[in-house]
Symmetry: C6
Subunit: 84 residues, 6 copies
C-alpha cells in the first residue's frame, strides 16, 4: 500500500484547537476534515483515484464544505470566536 505520509494522519495538527486568527482556525478545520478521511482510508492511491470524482462534482464539493463548516463551529467556539 502506498500509505499517506504520517503528517497527514495527525488528527489535530498542532495538538490544540486554539489559533491566532479566524483564518488560521478555518485552515485547521479544513486540515482536520482531510485528516479524518486519511485515517479512515490511508491508501494514497485510492484517495488520489477518487479525487477527480469528488473535486469536480459540485454536490461532492458542497458536502465537503459542510464538513468544514461543522469543524469550524467547534474551533470557533474553542477560540471564543476570536472576539479579542
Amino acid at each position: 500500500m502506498n500509505r499517506v505520509p504520517d503528517s497527514e494522519l495527525v488528527l489535530v495538527p498542532g495538538g490544540t484547537l486554539i489559533t491566532a486568527t479566524p483564518d488560521d482556525g478555518r485552515a485547521l478545520a479544513i486540515t482536520m476534515a482531510r485528516h479524518s478521511i486519511h485515517n479512515i482510508q490511508p491508501d494514497l492511491d485510492i484517495l488520489k483515484g477518487g479525487r477527480p470524482n469528488y473535486s469536480t462534482n459540485p454536490d461532492s464539493l458542497v458536502a465537503v464544505s459542510q464538513v468544514i463548516a461543522i469543524e469550524f463551529q467547534t474551533i470557533a467556539a474553542a477560540n471564543g470566536y476570536w472576539r479579542g
Copy 2:
C-alpha cells in the same frame, strides 16, 4: 489551470467573524461557504463547468443553503446574535 483569483481563496474575508449587522453576517456566511469550495477546487473552469448543474438542480440548491445555515450559526454566535 485557470485559477480562481486570490481574493476568492481568503478563508475568512475581513479576517474576523464580527460584523455590523445580521445581514452582513449572512453575507459573510455565504462568502465563507463559497471560499471553502474554492480552496478545495481552485480551477475556475471546473467550477464554472459544474455551476449550471448545481445551481439549477433544486436538491443542490438546498444542500448549499444548508451549508450557509451552518456557517451562519457560527457567525451569529460570534456576534452575540446582534442583540444590541
Copy 3:
C-alpha cells in the same frame, strides 16, 4: 433573465434575528432559507422550473425542512428561546 424581486433577496428580512414570538421566529427561518436559495440562483424561471420537482418529492421536502430546523436553532438561541 427574469430576476426574483429585490425583496426576495434580502438576507435577513427585517434586519434582526429578534422576533416577538416563536411562530414569528419560525417564519423568519423559512424566509431566510428561501432567500439563501434566491441569492445563489436569482433566475425566477429556473427556480419555478425546479419547484414542481422538489416540492412534490418527499426526500426534497425533508431536506428543506432540515435547513429550516437549522436556521431556527440560530433564531431561537438569539431570542433566548422566548422564555419570557
Copy 4:
C-alpha cells in the same frame, strides 16, 4: 387543491417551545418538522401521494429522524433540558 387543514400549518403549535416533559418536547419536535413540510407543500393529495414512498424507504425514514433530532436540540435547550 385539497389543502391541509389550518391546524397542520401552525409553525409552533401552542405558540411556545416550553413543554412540561421531555416526551412532550419530543412530540413538539415531530409536529414542528411535519408542519414545516406542510407549509412548503400544503397540497394534501401531493403529500399523501408521497407518503407511501418515504415512509417505507429506510433511508427516507432516517432522514426524517434526523430533522426531528435537530428540532429536539432546540426544544431541549429551550427547556433547560428539563433538569428540574
Copy 5:
C-alpha cells in the same frame, strides 16, 4: 397492521434525558433515534422489510450513526457532559 409494541413508541424512554453514565446516555440516543422512526412508521412488517437494506448498506449505516451523534449531543449537554 402488525404494529410495533407500545414500548417501542415511547419518545423519551424513562421520561428524562438525565442518565447515570455516558454509556447510558449513548444507549438512550440510539433508542430515541429508533423510536422516532417507529412513530413515523409503526408497521413492524414494513420496518422489518426495510432492515436488510439499510443495515447492510454502508451509506445507510453512516446516516443512522449521524442521527445518533446528533441525539447524543443533546443528551450529553443535558447531563453537563457527566463531568462531575
Copy 6:
C-alpha cells in the same frame, strides 16, 4: 453470525468523554462513530463486505468524516475545548 468482538460494541470506550488532549478526543470521536455502526450491524462479515465500497467511495468517506465532526463537537465541549 461472525459477531464483532465485545470491545467493538462499547458505546463510550473508557466510560467518559474527558480526554487528556484534543488528539485523544478526536480519536474517541472516531471510535464512538465506529461503535455506533457496530451496534446497529454487529455482523462482522456484513461490515467487512461493505467496507471496500464506502472506504473507496469519496462521497461515503465525506459522510463518515461528517459524523466524526459531529461527535467531536460534543467531546470538545465536554473538555472545555482543552483550553488549559
